[in-house]
């Protein structure tokens, strides 16, 4: 039951230390990441953004140039076709009205220039078709005077007109170019129907070699030419184009997706060439995916390195902590051992202190026995006996006081920090253990205390241990008779006590070693060599220091400084 409890506590302890070290590792990981990874991530993002901007700029330039190029080519095409028709109708040999064979010949002539021409019509002043050549055999309408293009041409403000794409009789997309001519009093209009396939093919073929979509819309935004996989012919396109600029960039929103496109107005007709990147804004991720993968791998490797490094740091920290803990335990044990040892050195003196009262007890008891023994015929009064009983009583309590003080000193007690006057601590120890010892050994103690000593916060027991060690040493150094002077005082932020003896002193060789553990000049079995080293440890723990002065043959002075304010 107890064992279980114990192991539970141990487990809890290890759990807590585990948690502590885990937390420490996480702290290190975060710290290292912030130091190394964060700047790198910021750099990567910065370059990525820069790069993307560059790419987008070059994209913009690219699609704009395509749009301009296409627009120019289409303009050229349209102008050529218009010129074809004007040349035909302006030809002085052109007969009005031509017969159908001649009309076919004219169509053939046009088709030599461009096979986009599918048929031609000739209309008179009133909008009646007077000649036709082409694939249609029968017309439902023969008068076109109400058609917009006809009215415009008749007004004479334009020499030619190009219509938008429309679906003709055969449900094929077509557009027409119409030109006029005044012959004397007469006014004729020559109209040609063209198939946009040429242009369409041209656009499609270009699309295939690049990642762009090219389409043509009219000024109202309807598709005139478009890749069927992309949009529907004559349907409303999503493009909204600025009419002030011939060439420009704009954005469309398809399914809430922002899409950049370039546009270029044609001059020959109110059409607009629209060029759009096939994969649009995805290019950012697509083009740079390699960079991103590379960066990610780099970041992951760095992160792994950081994790390993932090583990290493934590492990070394842990080893350090454990070593320190071990050291602390050993120090504690050493301190206790030394305490016991110094008490051992005291034991002879203590024995004297105890044996003397014991001798009194034995002797007094014997005396009382003698007094009441008829053999000696003393016939004692009870009053004669009481003083002897008192002596026994006193002797018993003398013994008790000594053992009690000894025990209170040796006992493994927790550090108890309290405010003390240093003089009191010294008096307490000297009076308990040394006063008589020194008197009978012919060692004089001179107390040279400062009266206005400030109180210090300390553990009296540990200071007594230091004192005990120093006084034991002083006593051992002296060949009686001799003097030990105990001085106290204040110096700066410290109070001090000095133990000065008139003993043998310490040689220069010895003085470097006296604070080393197990160094002793005493006879084998008399000193452990721990006293000074442990005393030094205690004083250092309190933030103090020990100074030594010694003249061989004259004596030594050990001065112990303790800070007035502990922390």
């Amino acid at each position: 039951m107890d064992d279980n409890k114990k192991s539970d506590i141990v487990n809890k302890d290890t759990l807590q230390t585990e948690r502590y070290y885990k937390g420490l590792q996480i702290k290190h990981i975060i710290r290292l990441s912030v130091t190394y990874l964060l700047p790198m991530i910021i750099l990567i993002i910065y370059f990525q953004l820069q790069y993307t901007e560059l790419i987008q700029e070059s994209d913009s330039l690219h699609i704009k140039s395509i749009a301009e190029n296409k627009s120019n080519m289409l303009d050229l095409f349209m102008n050529e076709r218009v010129v074809n028709l004007i040349n035909l109708i302006d030809d002085p040999k052109f007969k009005f009205p031509p017969d159908s064979a001649l009309m076919i010949e004219y169509l053939e002539r046009l088709r030599k220039d461009s096979d986009a021409f599918t048929d031609i019509d000739l209309f008179d002043f009133e909008g009646n078709r007077i000649a036709y050549a082409g694939p249609i055999e029968k017309f439902e309408i023969t008068n076109y005077s109400a058609e917009k293009w006809f009215i415009k041409l008749k007004e004479g403000s334009e020499r030619f007109i190009i219509t938008d794409i429309y679906l003709g009789y055969r449900m094929q997309p077509h557009f027409t170019i119409a030109v006029n001519r005044n012959v004397g009093e007469n006014f004729y209009v020559l109209r040609a129907t063209l198939e946009p396939t040429k242009i369409y093919n041209f656009l499609i073929s270009y699309e295939k070699t690049s990642d762009t979509y090219i389409s043509i819309i009219n000024s109202d935004g309807y598709y005139q030419l478009v890749n069927p996989s992309f949009g529907q012919l004559l349907a409303l396109s999503p493009y909204n184009v600025n009419s002030d600029e011939k060439l420009g960039l704009s954005y469309s929103y398809i399914n809430n997706k922002k899409q950049k496109f370039a546009y270029c107005w044609l001059s020959a007709v109110d059409w607009i060439v629209i060029v759009q990147k096939a994969n649009g804004t995805d290019s950012f991720w697509h083009i740079n995916s390699l960079t991103i993968v590379f960066s990610l791998i780099l970041l992951i490797i760095m992160f792994i390195v950081i994790v390993l490094r932090s583990k290493q740091i934590v492990e070394s920290q842990r080893q350090k902590d454990e070593a320190e803990e071990e050291k602390a335990i050993v120090e504690l044990q050493l301190e206790h051992a030394s305490k016991l040892a110094s008490v051992g050195e005291l034991a002879a003196g203590i024995a004297h202190e105890i044996n003397n009262p014991l001798a009194i007890v034995a002797s007094e008891v014997g005396l009382i026995k003698d007094l009441i023994d008829p053999q000696f015929n003393q016939q004692p009064d009870i009053k004669d006996i009481i003083p002897h009983l008192d002596n026994i009583h006193d002797a018993a309590f003398r013994c008790r006081d000594i053992t009690r003080k000894l025990l209170s000193f040796v006992r493994h007690s927790d550090v108890q920090l309290k405010e003390y006057n240093l003089n009191d601590i010294i008096d307490d120890l000297v009076d308990s253990f040394f006063e008589r010892e020194f008197t009978v050994s012919n060692i004089r103690i001179i107390k040279n205390y400062a009266n206005d000593l400030p109180k210090i916060t300390t553990d009296a027991n540990q200071i007594k241990q230091v004192l005990l060690n120093l006084l034991n040493n002083a006593k051992d150094a002296i060949t009686p008779p001799g003097t030990i002077t105990i001085t106290t005082g204040k110096k700066g932020d410290y109070v001090f006590f000095a133990i000065k003896d008139t003993g043998c002193g310490i040689t220069k060789d010895q003085i470097d070693k006296i604070f080393l553990p197990f160094y002793t000049t005493k006879e084998v079995g008399k000193g452990t060599g721990l006293g000074l080293s442990v005393s030094y440890g205690i004083v250092r723990n309190f933030g103090g220091d020990i100074e030594v002065e010694s003249i061989p043959g004259k004596g030594s002075t050990f001065r112990v400084y303790l800070p007035i304010k502990l922390f």
């Binding site: 004297h352 105890i354 044996n355 003397n356 001798a359 009194i360 009978v440």
Partner: protein, 162 residues
């Protein structure tokens, strides 16, 4: 009636000194008490003690010094040491200096009496042997000398005894 044994007790513990002295007085000892070494040596000069009981550790002159002086100044005195320390080394040292016995404090009273009696016997024996020797010397001296010479030699021997 037998002559009382003349005993000097030296100890700085007065209570101890008083009680031990009284007990010994009850047992036909003639006890003189001293609380320090100087007094003890002074007393010894005036009174011829048979035995001395000395505490080893005392303020001022310690037991060993007193032992040395007593043994030097008084030829037949036997000294028993008493001590609370009870270490072997000091026992050996005291024996070398001529102590008859060594008793650690606290001791059994019967043991003390026994040691004191032994010491006294030893003292008597030593005195007897010395007397014999003196007689022999005297008889040798007496041969072929003038009475004045004999007296002078006898005084010399007496001085040695002291």
């Amino acid at each position: 009636m037998e002559r009382k044994i003349k005993l000097l007790i030296v100890d700085d513990e007065e209570k101890f000194l008083d009680s031990i002295a009284r007990r010994l007085e009850m047992r036909e000892f003639e006890v003189t008490k001293a609380t320090n070494g100087t007094d003890a040596i002074n007393y010894a000069k005036n009174m011829k003690f048979d035995l001395a009981l000395l505490d080893l550790k005392m303020p001022g002159m310690d037991g060993k010094e007193v032992l040395e002086i007593l043994k030097r100044e008084h030829k037949f005195i036997e000294v028993i040491m008493l001590t609370g320390h009870g270490s072997l080394e000091s026992a050996v040292e005291c024996t070398k200096l001529g102590a008859y016995g060594y008793l650690p404090k606290p001791y059994e009273f019967e043991k003390l009496i026994e040691v004191l009696k032994d010491a006294y016997e030893a003292r008597l024996k030593k005195k007897f042997e010395a007397d014999q020797l003196r007689l022999e010397k005297l008889s040798q001296l007496a041969l072929g000398r003038s009475p004045i010479d004999i007296l002078r030699e006898m005084r010399k021997l007496d001085d040695e005894d002291q």
